[in-house]
Structures are given as C-alpha cells and as structure tokens.
Symmetry: C2
Subunit: 468 residues, 2 copies
Amino acid sequence: MSAVPTGVVNVGADLFADAVEAQATSVTRVDWRPPMPRTEADLAAVAADPLRRDANNRALAAMLGVTAQLVDVVPAAEALGLAPGQFLHAGPPITWDRASGPLRGALMGGAALEGLVDDPEDAAALFESGNGVSLEPCHHHATVGPMAGVVTSSMWMFVLEDPATGRRTHCSLNEGLGKVLRYGAYSPDVLVRLRWMRDVLGPLLQRAVRTVRDGAGPVDVTGIVTQMLQMGDEAHNRNRAGTLMLLRDLSPAMVTSGLDAADVAESLRFIGGNDHFFLNLAMPACKLALDAARDIDGSTMVVAMARNGTDFGIQVAGTGDEWFTGPAQVADGLYLGDYGPDDANPDIGDSAITETAGIGGFAMATAPAIVRLVGGSVPDALATTRRMHEITLGENPRWTVPVLEFQGVPSGIDVTRVCRTGILPQINTGMAGRVAGVGQVGAGLVNPPAEIFPMALARLAERARARA
Amino acid sequence: MSAVPTGVVNVGADLFADAVEAQATSVTRVDWRPPMPRTEADLAAVAADPLRRDANNRALAAMLGVTAQLVDVVPAAEALGLAPGQFLHAGPPITWDRASGPLRGALMGGAALEGLVDDPEDAAALFESGNGVSLEPCHHHATVGPMAGVVTSSMWMFVLEDPATGRRTHCSLNEGLGKVLRYGAYSPDVLVRLRWMRDVLGPLLQRAVRTVRDGAGPVDVTGIVTQMLQMGDEAHNRNRAGTLMLLRDLSPAMVTSGLDAADVAESLRFIGGNDHFFLNLAMPACKLALDAARDIDGSTMVVAMARNGTDFGIQVAGTGDEWFTGPAQVADGLYLGDYGPDDANPDIGDSAITETAGIGGFAMATAPAIVRLVGGSVPDALATTRRMHEITLGENPRWTVPVLEFQGVPSGIDVTRVCRTGILPQINTGMAGRVAGVGQVGAGLVNPPAEIFPMALARLAERARARA
C-alpha cells in the first residue's frame, strides 16, 4: 500500500488556485490521482449500483439532520446496564491477548476502580483468565470512548439524545490530560481522580444537567460545536471554547445544586482546567448523527472509524455492522517532554468519530492554532480541510469554517472516493505511551491503514452484484 | 480630504500576492500610494528628526512590555475619587451643548443613577445649567469607557495594574448589548440593571477578584487576550472567548464568596449571556500598555484614538496630552432590526484604544466570523490586518494571528506612515442610535477623519524644527 499517497498533496498549488478562485476567476483543478490498486472492478460495480446515489443522499441527509442534546448524566450501570466485570473499550472488537499496552493499562485501572482487584497489577492475570470479565466495543453499546475508551459500571456517562427520534448515545466524563486512565495510566493518583469523579463530579453534573434540562431546556451540544468552529476549536484535539461554553451553560445550576460550595468550586476548577472536557460531548454527538445513517443499503458512506490500539476499523452505511480492519498506524506529531516515536503506541480511540462526522482533522482549517499541538503548518491545516472535500459526499450547512468564507465542513466520507483518489481521511489524535501505565506521550496526525477502504469497497461491490 | 483612500485597497491583488508568497516565491509589492495632501514638508521635517527612530523604538517597546493584571473591583468614588455630579465620558473633551444624542442620553441616565434627578428627562436642564455637574474625558482619569463611556461615582470599576510599575487603569462593568446606558438608553429597565450591577454584581466581583488575586494570583488580562486571538475574538466586537475565560478564572471564587447562591447564579448567567463582558477588560489593558509610551519626545506613535460621538481625537507619544480632533464619521455596517444609516450616530467611544494597541479592527484576520456582525467579507478581514502592517511600527510577539502563520498583530500606529500612505486605521465598532434613549442600532467598520493625522504631523514637525 506504500504507493498510496497519504500526506499533504499539492499544498502550494491548492493555495494558488484558492486565491484565483477568491478573485472569482473560473478555475479547473487538474490534479488527477490514480485509484487504489486493484479497485477498478469493484469501483465499476458500485458505480453501476442503482441504489447508490439515493442511498448516499439519504445517508448524508440523515447524518446532517440530527441534533444532539445533553439530557442526563448517570452511571454506566444505569445507562448501559453494565455489571462490574463488564468492560467496554474503544475500536473494533479485540481480546486481551492482542490488546496494546495502553488498553491493557486502562483495563487494569478499571478493574481496580470496580474493586475486582486491589492492585491494578493483579488484574492482568484476571483478564488472561477471562474469569468473570468481558470485553466489548463501546460502539456496540451506543457509546464512544476516547483513547483506550474503557468504560466500567460505576463510571458516570453523559447521555445525549436526538430530540426527533429519542435515540441516545453515551460517553464517560473526561479526566484531563497526561497521566490518565484513557491513555493507559493506572497509578494511585489516577484512581484517586476517578473516585473523586465518581463520588463528587458525577452527582453534581447529574443535578446540574437535569436542572438545566427541566428548566431552560437541555444543553444544545450540536449548537456548541457550531460555535466552537467559529472559535478556533476543531472539536477533537482543541475543545477549549466548547469546554468553556459547557461551563457557561451548567455553572449556574451547579451553584444552586445545594451541594457543598467547596465541591462546586473544585468541580468548576477541574472542568475549567481541562481544555478537553468537551471532547466527551463532541464524540457522542458525532456518533448520534452518524448512527442515523446506519443500515442504508447501497450507501458507501463511512459511519464509524475507530481504533483499539492494535486494529483500525471502519463501518459503512451499506454493510451493516461489519468492521473492516487493518493495523493501526503510529501518528506523526509532537511529543511531550523527553518522549519520542519509539514510546508511542499505534493509534487508539473512538475519537475518530469526529473526523467521520466532518470535524477534528477534517476541520483543521478553522483551528490553525492546532498545529502547535499536533504538528504541521498552517498552510497544511488549510489544505487538509480542502483535501477532505475531495473524499466526502457534501458539506455541513450548520458546521462552517469562517476563514474558508463559511464553507461547511467536509461531511460523509465516501468509500468510493477514497478508493478512486487514494486520499485517506486525516485524523488529529493524542498519542498514548506504548507501555501500560505510561499515559500520554504526545499528539499528532495519522491516517487509517489504506487497505481497509478497498476491503469495504469489495463488500459493497459484492452486495451490489448480488442485487443486480 | 476626499482624495484620501479610506476603504479596502487591493484586496484581490493582496490575496494573490499572499498566495505567491506562501509558495516562497520572491514578490515585490508595487502598490505605491500618494502621501496625504500638503504633508510633504512636515514629513521631511519629521524624517530628519534625529530623535525619531530611537523614540519610536522606545515607544513600541514600552507598549509591548506591559502586562495587565486584574487586581481589584471598586466603585469609581474610591478608585478615581469621583463625587456625584462628576461625570466622565468617552473621547476628547466636550461640553453638553456639542454632545451627541447617545452621550446626552447616557449622561441623563447616569444623573438618575446618582440620584441627582428622579426622572432622566429632568437631567437635560441640569446639564444645560452646568450647576453642580462637570464633564471630563475618561482618558484624563486613567480610564476608558466603551461607547458614551459615562462613568459616575457609584459605578464599579475594574482596576488593572502593570506589575512592573504599579501603574493602573480602570473601566466600568459591561452592561450587555441593545438598550444599555453606554449606547445612550436610559429607560427604567436600563436603570434597574445598573442598580443590580451596583448592589449585587459589583460586590460579588470585588470579593472574587480579591480572592483570586490573593490566592493563585491576579487574573492575567494580557494572557487572556493572547488566548482570545487564537479563539476567533479580535477583542473589540468579539469578546466571547475572553468573557468565557474570565468566567472560568473567577467562577470558583464567586461560588465560595459566601454571597447568596441565587445571586451568584444570576451573576454567572449575566456574564455568560453577555459576549462583550470582557471588552471592559481588554480596553483598559490596551490603555495600560499605551500609557507606557506617552511623553516620548520625537515619537510619532499614536497612544490614543477616542471618540465622543461628535469629535474623533488622537494623542501621540511625542506631543504630550494634546488632542488632534476632527468630525467623527458614521460607520458602514449592519443594522439591528429596522434601523438604517439615518438612525446611526457618528462614531463614539474609547474602544478604539483596542485598535491603537493592534487588536480590534487591526486583528480582524484572526476573527473572520466578525464579518457577520460588522459587515464586509472574509477576504476583506484578512486584507485589513495585512494593510494595517503598512502603517504600524512593528508586531506584537505575544498577540499573534494563527491563520497568518502566527504573525504578530500590527502594533504602534505611526503618524508618518499614515500620512505617507493615506491608509487610515481600521476600526470595528458598535453603532449607537443618533437620538438619546434609543440604544444600539448596529455595528460596522469606520475610520478616523483623515485630517487629524496631518494635524498631528504638523505639530511633530514643529517640535522637531524647534529642536533642530
């Protein structure tokens, strides 16, 4: 697959063409790219599928029609029916023996949080034995999880709802950066923080979210994402403005919750000090939108991209719940402290649901300051958003990029366009340490393994041929 | 002065040149502009002044070296020694007989707030008589005021301090948009809000600001401006991210203030619902920086631009406290509701101190969403920041524009460059209704009257000749 171009293509030429376009001169782009190897027959079969055009129109419209409201905060036991010993994780299905360091670390910490073991180190034997423990993807339980994405029964979950259908998605509360469970850390301070979130932050947020919901109406998560994109956030690795708007919307009800003022102040400081807090609302909002496009026969639109630290998987609207998987790649980016490329685990987390919905790496143009975190240059960031329009079905009229004259973000990744152009989706991501217990080592840019798109295309072609 | 170009110049050509530059091709800009009429001799005299270069270097460095911290919130009586009957206003000095509608309306409301009259309508006779009332510019009292800028003795003031020198500047608390005193409205709801700010919001902010100051250290106003510019604010007509960061920094101490939880919640809602709240911190931060550059003999740098609704005035580092004034212009922009150009008062307010310090209209490139409020297009916004670099002495290394590859904002308006190029400073501004009592009617783009720059240049030349 090394012949497939994965980097930034034609930046200079794109900028030049953009400037010409801005002057209202007609311009035709001529940068033809070869299709991915051995995809011609499948591309032809899918192109001839009479269902395809309408199916893709419906899939895109379904995704763009969803709005997400924050309607509750409840423990996973209640929201998802999880029992102690049931563990959810990011990405496609995986077993302990193939799990990467950061996923193992997060599972070990989660087992200690649930009281299954006293010392997280003892949990490795538990997961090896499989006695009384199970692993399932978040995505199989209307849930998404950043990085390792481990969810256990006592963790508090944001509950998002589409008011038009009542459908719901879920995500845990964000712990912050550095040494945190989702990056595979499980030291005592990680568990102390998780217990404080369980005992103090979760109950307080539940009261505030319910008060707001029953008063002025639920927090409009989709609306906050709309505003974030005007405020330098791309809602994957920059969530600063989103976090502050959430605080704005919840803080009055936190103050009048009746809970201890010191606990309220500490919670305000915790959320205000964690620029990523809103990520755990952006992600389930994206999943809620994309789930509306599932199971549309003939549609070539990607409805999930997710990584478990070992495998990168996608699901497609026209192929049901099947995962198309390949090896997760290591991101190219900037490292914290003395960490370097040898310390980084391959790509992990459900957070690529943001790119699947057109934000994150797809909206880098609206968040040029992101390059200071994930690397690259400002012209690269602008060119990336432009380039993603070449592999997507349309634009989001609600989520726009001011500096691109309010163009909608590129939305609805089309498997056929990816295969036809060789352009891979661009993902911004955090990087977890390869070794269980380390935590975050950096942030960077990464792509899916190229071969999973021809795999999905082959299945789409097979189904089209079977219907013909 | 109609020969002086005041609009957006060479937008298309600028964009084209930018794209070429981005591709690292050498490019020479050839858009020579004629100097302002009858300025040649004064330009030559100032160019020959041996003090000029060093004086401008010192003025720019002095301005860029200042950081502003929020150290207190106290009533104007205490902060500035104002007695009831003493009124501060925006812009250069003016008397009641020449005051515009919105300034008169704000003074009338202020008189009622201070109990000098029961009905604001009765205050007109009081100001006409001049008995027991006085008007002075905010700028003469280490203060800046947005729009009418009326400050009375009982109003609570933000107190900003430069930690290196202990110098201080002040600004009142922002009331929100629409029908508010600073836009000339004085209806009962305006006075109810001002009394709530006096009785509830001010005391609460005083406790919170003092707690933060004495604990983790004062709120870093300059640092928040730095972040805002990465978050789509230009800190004059967009202060959304700044307001949210202020809330983040103050809300924990508001919660533990010991004041009534319902009042704290109401104050959080008030600030969170007013995207302009931070403007009243950005403005005195800019004045604190610019005041450091006052009284530097030979410097041609502008240290204040301010409007009282009738006159637009500037002060210059090398000419002491002298105001150079001309008629304030009506902004070109977007109107609220059914209002139109005939309803708008000429330009008013001290808020052009933001442009004087390199933000606001000078930083439009970092806030492209601003065009939805003030009008114009995104390419105009980018071109405006580029153009302002042609009339400024340097760049601010702290305040940068991500989309322009982190270039510093254009800083230190140079009277000689303005006269030499005919390019006028670009100001983003709110528009007040022409009639006292109306309030805000829109927002738009405006320039100073061109003739005040040759006036200032003439005085600089006179002083240079006198020294020669």
